[in-house]
């Protein structure tokens, strides 16, 4: 099961991130998790939101370049070694992590880690076989 992330191209100049947030806020879109990758002249904002279609539409209306990306949201116990166990599983099967970010669930003792792998489908198989919980976009939002 894959979750959907929205990626936004940002030029590296002041005020751009604020504009994204203003646009999403005005459209009542809530952000559950985010990360920013940056280089010297541009950045990529990656967000998981409650209403991705609305978020895409409102960002396009504001002339941002956006894309929908499939990512994998994994639930791990918020305890020492939680992430390590998952990475070991994937490493054993030679699945590579392109990028990842994490947040803590509001209603449980778990953390959620958002992964983008080089081979998403293979990663899902590996994780499911090991009995790891994979969340949908909707589940990410309600946990």
């Amino acid at each position: 099961m894959k979750a959907e992330q929205i990626s936004v191209f940002l030029e590296n100049k002041s005020g751009r991130l604020a504009e994204v947030m203003r646009a999403l806020g005005a459209a009542q879109v809530n952000i559950r998790a985010l990360s920013i990758a940056d280089t010297s002249d541009f950045g990529i904002l990656r967000i998981i939101v409650n209403d991705k279609d609305k978020a895409l539409a409102v960002l396009r209306d504001n002339n941002f370049t956006v894309s929908k990306t499939e990512v994998i949201a994994v639930e791990v116990p918020d305890t020492p070694g939680g992430l390590s166990k998952i990475l070991d599983l994937l490493d054993a099967q030679k699945v590579n992590v392109e990028y990842m970010y994490a947040f803590i669930e509001r209603h449980s003792e778990n953390a959620v880690i958002i992964f983008r792998f080089d081979e998403n489908d293979k990663a899902i198989e590996v994780l499911q076989n090991a009995g790891i919980t994979i969340l949908s976009s909707q589940e990410i939002y309600t946990r």
């Binding site: 990626s7 191209f9 002249d41 541009f42 990529i44 941002f64 370049t65 956006v66 894309s67």
Partner: protein, 434 residues
């Protein structure tokens, strides 16, 4: 399709004698009526009677843009103002514009030439022509307008600007042909898509005549695909008459036929001024041979091209000029290497998904010329992975280096941050202070 079968397919020999007769009449006229030309002829001891063959064209002195500017506004008119029914002027980005005049007969000639141009693109009576060239002092709008009326097409004189309204009209009036600058065509497509309209499906356009700025073959393919039309390159300049100096034919789309019964083209070496044979690349020079109010003698266009005398499949006997690849004055000299913006565009558009929304920023840092290419990121080339975007930047840098041997940097910028033109796009920003 050919508008004027008799003249456009005139055998070369008959054309040459017609050209000579008309050239002699033009030289007589300017010598007698324009003090500027008389003075220039007298300085080199040239009399109109010395012009006895077409080869003698090279005896005539060149006319350059500053000559036109120095005689601002009406100093080069060859008829009294009372015979001038219209004036136009070049945009004049620096200082005073260049002003040209037309007699009633000149306006007739111009209409004929634009009728030929539109007919060469396959436009005919029954077509609806969306004319988005600017109306006013700029020659584009009224030039295309008169040509379209001459062939009996229905003209929508929309002019430039107010793009959203243009999209509505393109959708509702269903024009079958469009005339505008190539960069404005792509801007129209952008705005249309923003409005949820697909330019290839929701418009009835079949053909477009694009000119007034240099554009590449790749850009043609992009426009053709975007609108699902044939895109025809047309050429002209205010100083010579406006649009209607030369045009591609729909049959070949390979070079622009110069209307040689009205203008004699030459290619010269821009450094020495020596005439070059057909096939060699150099600066394009025009002598008008039928104009009354504003004849020009060996006017140096600063456009670089070559002439092709091979017979064309369309049946026209006129020579073809290659699409303009650059200008002697917008040629960038980067660390001693000649670079034309059109070549950079061509290299950029080879990259899948890239759109021609770019700007070339030239600067000089620590006495070294630098080029930064700013390229807008659209959804086709965007990726959520940093490394894929960095690969794209590197590819641009590598392609430019391989093509020109000069290093550049590439900066990806957000969409619609590079200024869109309603007319001619500004592709180059040269910040060098030399």
């Amino acid at each position: 399709m050919i508008w004027n079968q008799e003249f456009e397919t005139l055998p070369r020999e008959a054309l040459a004698s017609l050209q000579l007769k008309r050239l002699q009449a033009t030289v007589d006229r300017v010598y007698a009526t324009v003090p500027f030309y008389k003075k220039k002829f007298d300085e080199i001891g040239l009399k109109p009677s010395h012009i006895t063959s077409l080869k003698d064209l090279r005896l005539l002195p060149f006319t350059v843009k500053t000559d036109l500017r120095d005689n601002y506004p009406f100093g080069l008119f060859s008829v009294p103002m009372s015979n001038v029914v219209r004036v136009h002027a070049s945009s004049g980005t620096t200082g005073k514009p260049i002003v040209v005049g037309y007699t009633r007969r000149d306006i007739e000639t111009w209409g004929e030439l634009m009728a030929r141009t539109l007919t060469a693109a396959g436009i005919h009576q029954g077509d609806i022509v969306h004319n988005a060239y600017g109306y006013g002092l700029f020659t584009g709008g009224l030039g295309a307008h008169y040509g379209a009326e001459r062939i009996g097409a229905s003209v929508v004189p929309i002019s430039g600007g107010n793009t959203k309204r243009q999209i509505m009209i393109l959708k509702d009036f269903g024009p079958t042909a469009i005339t505008c600058t190539p960069s404005y065509a792509l801007h129209l497509a952008d705005v249309a898509r923003d409005m949820g309209i697909d330019p290839a499906r929701d418009f009835k356009l079949r053909v477009g005549c694009f000119g007034a700025e240099a554009w590449s073959e790749n850009m043609r393919q992009q426009i053709e695909k975007t609108f699902n039309i044939d895109a025809i390159d047309i050429f002209g300049l205010t100083e010579v008459i406006g649009p209607g100096v030369s045009s591609e034919c729909l049959e070949a789309k390979s070079g622009l036929h110069v209307f040689e019964d009205h203008f004699i083209p030459e290619i010269i070496d821009p450094d020495t001024g020596d005439p070059l044979p057909y096939g060699e690349k150099g600066e394009l020079v025009f002598t008008s041979i039928t104009k009354e109010a504003f004849p020009v003698i060996r006017y140096r266009t600063r456009d670089l091209t070559r002439l092709n005398a091979q017979q064309c499949v369309c049946g026209r006997t006129f020579v073809r000029m290659e699409r303009i690849t650059g200008r002697t004055d917008d040629m960038l000299i980067i660390r001693g290497v000649n670079v034309f913006p059109s070549q950079i565009e061509s290299a950029l558009l080879q990259i899948e998904g890239l759109e021609p929304h770019y700007q070339i920023i030239v600067d000089r840092k620590n006495n070294l010329d630098t080029i930064e290419l700013q390229v807008e990121v659209n959804e086709k080339i965007f990726s959520d992975e940093v490394k894929k975007l960095e690969v794209l930047e590197k590819r641009v840098v590598r392609d430019i280096k391989e093509t020109f041997g000069v290093s550049c940097t590439c900066k990806l910028v957000e969409p619609k941050t590079i200024a869109r033109s309603e007319g001619k796009a500004q592709r180059v920003i040269d910040k060098r202070k030399i």
